[in-house]
């Protein structure tokens, strides 16, 4: 009986294999990038979004800002069977008026940053008589149907900063 270990047969890879591998990888990368590009949106803080209104045109993008006020009943309207909520957001002092389809999520609150998905609209509001309280009211508004509320550890007011302003400096700064 032959008990010697089995010898590994040397197998030559077919010549076309490297070319096929390159084609498959290239194809996969092209599909991947195509999916990435078609599923990406510009992300602009409110100030930059205002600057690039004309450039953005009808394109959907994400807008970052903080609600100037919380939403009350008098900011919500049912128009043609759809519910719309009117509010304004700001970033770096620049205001943007927003019309949101549907009720904002639970976490929505004054001063808590939100990311809105939608597009610019110039012209009359769904409720043409509405005037945004503390808003821009410049004839442009951001139509959104998706609101993401940011939640992080910097949600609160800057208490340490406030204390410092009142003359209570951190010990480390004093030394």
């Amino acid at each position: 009986m032959d008990l010697s270990p089995r010898r590994q047969e040397s197998k030559k890879s077919p010549q076309w294999l490297p070319a096929l591998t390159v084609i498959v990888i290239a194809g996969a990368v092209i599909i991947l990038v195509w999916f990435l590009v078609t599923n990406s949106q510009s992300f602009l803080p409110a100030d930059e979004a205002v600057e690039s209104r004309l450039e953005m045109g009808e394109r959907r993008f994400q807008l970052l800002g903080s609600p100037v006020t919380n939403v009350d009943d008098d900011q919500t309207f049912i128009i043609d069977g759809n519910e719309y909520t009117f509010f304004s957001v700001s970033f770096d002092g620049i205001l943007v008026d927003v019309v949101s389809q549907g009720t904002p999520p639970d976490l929505f609150d004054e001063g808590i940053p939100v990311v809105l998905e939608g597009k610019w609209v110039q012209g009359p509001l769904p409720n043409p008589l509405y005037v945004f309280e503390n808003g821009a009211n410049d004839g442009w508004w951001f139509a959104t149907n998706r609101i993401l509320v940011k939640h992080d550890n910097d949600y609160r007011e800057d208490r340490i900063g406030d204390a410092e302003e009142r003359g209570q400096l951190p010990k480390a700064s004093e030394s």
């Binding site: 990406s40 519910e83 999520p105 939640h151 007011e157 009142r166 209570q168």
Partner: protein, 652 residues
């Protein structure tokens, strides 16, 4: 006092880590074994240091010592006791402290576990690697993420407490520690991989040493991810559990490469193949934990969900780059020695299926990584900010998920080396019937849509394949047929099948709507009658709660909105009716307002969602069962098996 103890602890940990690393390196270079043994003892010094620091932080939080800036910023006299403890990991500095504590714990356990092999260069170099990682995190704690900065609180000062979102669900106490136990646990196999590269002992030894460490790290990471999804579902009130946010992706990436590694390691153990691949995977898993931490903590990518941003980004990026460079150099240095003897005999074999599985997991990780960092690439090249939406991840992950389910069904029935058609036909019979029956059952129950039906079919295929394996094993060995790596692995597969069923059902057949209701008013929602019964306002020391009672087909749900006193922030507490068939979740969007106390609610129905959590639990059970060693076969039985030929032998 807490400041002094805490800072001293971190300095002690840093000193212990550096001294330990240097002592062991000197010990390896000199003929004196004793230095390696002494060096390992510094693991306990580092651990003691981190315990001291963690103790000081907990003491500061519990006693509301606002002279510690972290407590002043994130603590509060109004925070309930459980959440007071969890405040430590609610923000950057404290979470790095938890990271350091767990890492020092792993370091001490490794030193203890290998106490009889401390003079073995493999163990010594692994300890050196761990010491250096420990030193890096201790340095971060003395630099940009110092949890013990001092503050001079004004008289009567009270902090705001942690984000209220982190104060209204018990899972906050468990999700981050579980995640960290997983992330940091991968430091152990990584360190042994580095040690194997340095010592040139590139055989299967280091794999066997780190098998259980990897398994438990993976189990903890799985638990952390599932608990995180559960928390998001139960707290955020948006009806979802996974949003493909960079923070979530950061936890998924090491899980994907870790899962790939757990499979490919079997090929190396059994056939001696995929050596470079395994080393790369284990190093990639560790590196992805660092990269993920960088992505989520640096604020470099916009996320709606970053609880711990700060100035540690550049530190983490440098650390990541240095480790990556070192690993690449080591792999190139050992290039020739890493070459595997032989190759895969046939694609239709267990190793062939594992290779395909690894390509799928690797591809999945690449897709998620690319989608996560694509905004950075675009910003660097075009100087504009973009965001990659969930549809990209969903479209890309679906075919990969289906192929993984298919491979989960096929791999366990294939023998090593080469399968013949007759054998495959024989073994695939049960799973194939399982797939057909699943499809028929789902269609009869009203399931529609090509992709969901395809998903359920693959799930049935994979589930029956795992059940077949477990049934045969249990028939041979009784309940012991459920333990051991292979059998435990099949239990994990069953968990993945449950998870897949939950994911497919809940995402494919979700229905959601918002309704304005007055007391006593009813609406019809997806075959359910929903009635607004009443409302009440409750006051607690730290919050005011607006709670409403909603009747759904005879059972009462009580969603609420809470306004936290310290911050004024509104936090929802949705209420869910769960059953194996469907979840109905009600979130209170607008609390009772006006004289008629009208409310706005969001109702979300998601079929089969419960199976996601069941799947996660079964996966954890399977992980534990995998770690239990199988009883060794008796010699006599082995002899008998050797004499057997054909079908039974191939089943082994």
């Amino acid at each position: 006092m807490n400041l002094v103890i805490g800072s001293f602890g971190i300095v002690l940990a840093l000193a212990g880590a550096l001294t330990g690393a240097v002592t062991i390196i000197v010990g390896i270079r000199s003929p004196r074994d004793r230095l390696q043994i002494i060096g390992a003892r510094y693991a306990w010094v580092a651990f003691a240091g981190m315990c001291l620091s963690a103790f000081a932080m907990q003491r500061a939080l519990i006693t509301r010592d606002f002279s510690v800036q972290f407590v002043a910023e994130h603590g509060s006299s109004l925070t309930p006791p459980l959440y007071n403890v969890a405040t430590m990991w609610s923000a950057l500095e404290g979470s790095i402290l938890l990271w350091g504590l767990i890492l020092a714990g792993y370091l001490a356990v490794v030193a203890k576990k290998f106490s009889k092999r401390l003079s073995d260069p493999m163990v010594s170099w692994a300890l050196v690697s761990m010491f250096l990682v420990m030193a890096f995190f201790a340095l971060i704690m003395l630099g940009p993420a110092n949890p013990f900065e001092s503050f001079n609180p004004p008289v009567g000062y009270d902090g705001p407490g942690p984000n209220p979102l982190l104060q209204n669900h018990i899972l906050v106490a468990f999700h981050p520690p579980m995640l960290y136990l997983g992330y940091i646990g991968f430091t152990v196999p990584f360190s042994f991989a580095v040690a194997a590269l340095i010592t040139g002992r590139l055989g299967e030894g280091w794999l066997l040493i780190t098998r259980r460490w990897t398994l438990f790290s993976w189990g903890f990471l799985t638990a952390g991810i599932i608990l995180g999804a559960w928390w998001a579902y139960d707290v955020l009130g948006w009806g979802g559990y996974w949003g493909w946010d960079p923070v979530e992706n950061a936890s998924l990436l090491p899980w994907l490469t870790g899962t790939a590694y757990l499979h490919s390691v079997l090929v190396q153990e059994r056939r001696g193949l995929l050596r470079v691949w395994n080393l790369s995977l284990v190093c990639a898993t560790f590196l992805l934990t660092i990269l993920g931490t960088f992505i989520t903590r640096s604020g470099i990518i916009a996320s709606v969900h970053a609880f711990s941003e700060g100035g540690i980004g550049p530190w983490l990026l440098w650390f990541f780059s240095i480790v990556l460079f070192a690993v690449i150099c080591l792999i190139f240095w050992r290039g020739e020695e890493l070459r595997s003897q032989g190759g895969i005999d046939s694609p239709l074999s267990r190793e062939g299926a594992f290779l395909a599985n690894n390509l799928a997991f690797g591809g999945f990780a690449f897709v998620v990584l690319l989608g996560t960092v694509f905004p950075l690439i675009v910003e660097a090249l075009q100087n504009r900010q973009i965001s990659v939406g969930a549809p990209y991840f969903e479209k890309m992950s679906m075919p990969i998920g289906f192929s993984l389910l298919f491979l989960m069904a096929v791999a366990p029935i294939l023998p090593w080396r080469k399968a013949n058609t007759e054998l495959v036909r024989d073994r695939i019979e049960w799973p194939a019937w399982g797939a057909v029956l699943s499809l028929v059952l789902v269609v009869l129950l009203g399931g529609r849509g090509l992709l969901p039906l395809l998903g359920f079919t693959f799930a049935g295929f994979a589930g029956t394949s795992a059940m077949r394996h477990l049934t045969l094993s249990a028939r041979r060995n009784g309940w012991k047929g459920l333990v051991g790596r292979s059998n435990g692995g099949m239990v994990v597969h069953l968990g993945v099948v449950f998870l897949a069923i939950g994911l497919i059902g809940s995402s494919s057949y979700i229905s959601q709507g918002s309704y304005s209701l007055q007391p006593g008013e009813s609406i019809q929602f997806s075959e359910s009658t929903i009635t607004y019964v009443s409302s009440e306002r409750l006051s607690f020391p730290n919050k005011i709660q607006e709670r409403v009672q909603i009747d759904i087909d005879g059972s009462l749900l009580e969603p609420s909105i809470e306004r936290f006193t310290a911050s004024g922030q509104l936090v929802p507490s949705p209420s869910t009716r769960t059953s194996p068939v469907k979840d109905i979740q009600i979130a209170l969007l607008d609390p009772p307002a006006g004289e008629n106390k009208s409310i706005v609610i969001q109702v979300t129905k998601q079929p089969l969602l419960l199976w996601i959590w069941v799947g996660g639990f079964v996966m954890l059970m399977g992980t534990v069962l995998s770690a239990i060693p199988m009883q060794k076969r008796k010699a006599g039985r082995n002899k008998q098996r050797v004499r057997l030929s054909g079908k039974k032998d191939q089943e082994k």
